[in-house]
Symmetry: C2
Subunit: 80 residues, 2 copies
Amino acid sequence: MKARVLVTLKSAVLDPQGKAIEGALRSLGVPGVASVRQGKVFDVELDAADPAKAEATLKEACEKLLANTVIETYRIEFVG
Amino acid sequence: MKARVLVTLKSAVLDPQGKAIEGALRSLGVPGVASVRQGKVFDVELDAADPAKAEATLKEACEKLLANTVIETYRIEFVG
């Protein structure tokens, strides 16, 4: 089973990397970009065929490793 | 206008970071993860209200900065 996990900063958290990208785009002459926030995406292949088991595995992976749940949120999407 | 840009490694490219995450999940006792590939996600807010202009701006941003098009591919999704 394939899934995609999207990990993004909570909206209240400042994103210095995003700010740096905004500045770089401006200096590269790319117009009209008001703001940028960067996150992580994980494409995960799971052995389990059962969606409930797969979801439990992914939640455990996010809570333990993929996301810092103090400042980040994660969203699990099953693919195909 | 809001958009999400997903940047992922081309499938033929080895992902050492993904391999490291697989190993870490195994040692953390998270079962049943066959493979992990990591990418980047950018949530971008654009001044332009015209979708065509916004798409052109995002393509330029990806080609110039957000993606290394030699080893990565990018996908643009408009949000809301």
